[in-house]
């Protein structure tokens, strides 16, 4: 099994294309990440906006020593979705991460990655996917550490590396309806790309003014930011070898460097936590899923060991 890597998941939000390009340029030049996932995962309408920049972004990432993996769409319903998936799976020589069964079907029999939007909950599913060519599987966000440990063992047997998201808003749900469009009184087909207004998603508060969720087009994310910095040693012991950061508008180079240092054991957890708190995120951290608790909760060191 290869040594532990920090990876950068695909940008889930509709950033302005030039900003998207510049974000990746900086990642390529400065961030301590080994693998970068690139591609529109949420909405096939957004994908053409980034096409003019993909080639130079990929070239820069490779020049920066990063491996590039192309991520496919999470929810495939219409022909436009299938076409987008086919355009990715058809890229010559590319490594592709499948995020739905449509991509999985095309990628069968050749080495590929399986993304967090495919339900890989157990060792039997993992064995099946490995048998069809999955070399790396990113687990669904709600899997608790007990199950992650079993998956780590199974992955080692199957020569399939196990990846877990450790930072960023957690993907919770997908729909056919665009909730960004709905919030603005539009429909998906006439959306006017209003999702571009929210770099980290549109905050949804309860009637008691308590922030709960974040909307990103057809996707619903957690309001809290997943932060498994303190859990890194247990994840490593469980056999997890890839630690995924989900991109946000905060300083992702700093986030990458913190997690890289944690993996290198050159940074103590307390300092790591302080540096992540200094990012100035406007939402709290959460880690409940790891402990099989409500995902919005932040379980402290005392509770975790109790």
């Amino acid at each position: 099994m290869s040594e532990a890597q920090v990876t950068l998941g695909p940008v889930l939000f509709n950033w302005a294309p030039q900003l998207w390009r510049d974000f990746y340029f900086r990642i390529a030049d400065e961030a301590a990440v080994s693998t970068v996932y690139v591609g529109e995962v949420i909405c096939s309408k957004r994908a053409p906006l980034f096409v003019p920049y993909v080639e130079e972004v990929v070239a820069r990432l490779i020049a920066g020593g990063k491996s590039v993996v192309y991520s496919t769409l999470a929810q495939v319903t219409q022909k436009i979705d299938t076409r987008l998936v086919d355009s990715i799976t058809g890229l010559a020589g590319a490594t592709v991460e499948a995020n739905d069964a449509c991509a999985l079907r095309t990628l069968r029999g050749r080495p590929h990655h399986v993304g967090p939007f495919i339900n890989t909950y157990n060792e039997d599913t993992l064995a099946f996917l490995a048998g069809r060519g999955a070399r790396n599987v990113c687990l669904p966000p709600e899997l608790p550490i007990g199950a992650i440990e079993m998956m780590g063992e199974a992955g080692a047997r199957l020569s399939t590396s196990i990846e877990v998201q450790v930072f960023g808003r957690q993907p919770l749900a997908l729909s056919a309806r665009c909730y960004h469009a709905r919030a603005h009184g539009h429909t998906k087909d006439s959306c006017l790309f209003v999702c571009e207004q929210d770099a980290d998603g549109l905050r949804l508060d309860t009637l008691d003014s308590v922030p709960l969720l974040a909307i990103n087009g057809i996707q619903t994310l957690s309001y809290g930011y997943l932060n498994l910095a303190r859990e890194v040693p247990r994840l490593r012991a469980a056999g997890v070898t890839r630690f995924r950061l989900s991109p946000h508008s905060c300083d992702m180079v700093e986030v990458a460097n913190v997690f890289r240092a944690l993996l290198d054991e050159t940074l103590d957890p307390g300092t790591a936590q302080a540096r992540l708190e200094a990012l100035g995120l406007r939402a709290p951290f959460a880690n409940g899923f790891f402990y099989r608790r409500p995902g919005h909760q932040l379980i402290g060191a005392e509770q975790a060991s109790a």
């Binding site: 999985l104 039997d124 709600e142 309806r177 549109l202 905050r203 619903t220």
Partner: protein
């Protein structure tokens, strides 16, 4: 009406949350009933519902004597280390003569198809297969004979899928409508720690609380979060996250960010669905009363029989049974729903 001979008689697939509801549905004219074991292996794992092994075996006998089929939902996702419970459910289904097992997890499907090649498998809506390619993958790998489509497709899209897949299509025609792609939603898990995918529960009753404010307003809470608020004049709804009311920056009033609390009713689209190639019509509601099951199943039984006999179906009284007495055709009628 077109000649009924051109249409395939659809199977009416009805909910059976309890042995009594199963008998009620069979007596009311169900062609098939679907049910689950009293544990996390099915997606309606609510207190007081479902079957133990003896009850299920008796139910199979009862249904088969009446010429109806029994489908067993084993349609949740076992977390690593706990797959035995799901395998035992599949073993039991094969042993007691279940007509088809409804599966979602790839591991469970792989187990069932390799261990019991003769056992008929249906692909659960929880598998989230919303494209022809996704369905074909499951047909090719696991010999799936029927796919239950997500409630996110238009009739035209269903017809398009029908032309491209080698298996039957089942669609939901009546009952609760979830807004999220089934099998791909961790909202309940995020709020309560109970997982829809792993535990088979959406908005668990144990986490539901109603609090009355001083002015008589009722707050419907799930876990520690308020999902909706009702004045004393309004009927209080159940706090399901995707039907709650929320506030966003830039919108003055709270709104249903995902969907209004409405029920799906496709009774007016039955003929269109049949023309699109749908051969099984599913009624949601394993958590519903026997009286509800009797009314809805009888009404759809008559409607299907009317259509097959070339008569216009009458389905006017169903609205009284829908959630909040409001209904929708959801995604099925037009893309503007999205």
């Amino acid at each position: 009406m077109e000649a009924a001979s051109k249409l395939t008689r659809p199977e009416l697939v009805c909910p059976a949350g309890t042995p009594a509801a199963l008998r009620t549905a069979v007596d009311a004219g169900a062609d098939a009933v679907y049910c689950g074991f009293r544990d996390a292996t099915n997606a309606r794992n609510f207190p007081g519902l479902n079957f133990n092994l003896d009850e299920l075996a008796d139910a199979v006998t009862y249904a088969h004597n009446a010429g109806a089929k029994v489908l067993l939902a084993v349609n949740t996702f076992p977390p690593a280390g706990q797959t035995q419970l799901w395998k035992h459910a599949v073993d039991a289904a094969a042993r007691i003569g279940i007509d088809a097992v409804i599966v979602a997890d790839i591991g469970v499907a792989a187990y069932a198809s390799s261990r019991y090649p003769q056992l008929r498998l249906h692909l659960s809506v929880q598998a989230g297969a919303s494209s022809p390619e996704a369905i074909r993958l499951h047909c090719e790998e696991f010999g799936i004979k029927r796919a239950v489509l997500p409630r996110i497709l238009t009739v035209a899209e269903i017809a398009g899928i029908h032309a491209q897949i080698p298996c039957e299509i089942e669609v939901f025609v009546f009952g609760n409508i979830g807004m999220m792609a089934e099998g791909r939603c961790a909202l309940t898990s995020y709020v309560t720690g109970v997982s829809t995918n792993m535990d088979g529960v959406c908005s668990p009753p144990a986490d539901v609380h109603y609090l009355e404010d001083a002015d008589g307003t009722l707050r419907a809470k799930l876990g520690e979060f308020t999902i909706d608020r009702f004045s004393s004049q309004e009927p209080a709804g159940y706090p399901t996250i995707c039907k709650g009311r929320y506030v966003v920056c830039g919108r003055a009033a709270p709104y249903h960010a995902f969907e209004e609390p409405v029920s799906l009713n496709l009774s007016a689209l039955l003929l269109d669905l049949m023309r699109a190639g749908v051969t099984a019509l599913k009624i949601e509601g394993r958590q519903r009363s026997r009286a509800y099951v009797r009314s809805v199943v009888s009404a759809f039984r008559r409607a299907v029989d009317d259509i097959m006999a070339g008569r216009d179906p009458v389905l006017a009284n169903l609205i009284a049974l829908t959630e909040g007495r409001r209904e929708t055709q959801g995604a099925f009628r037009s893309k503007t729903w999205r």
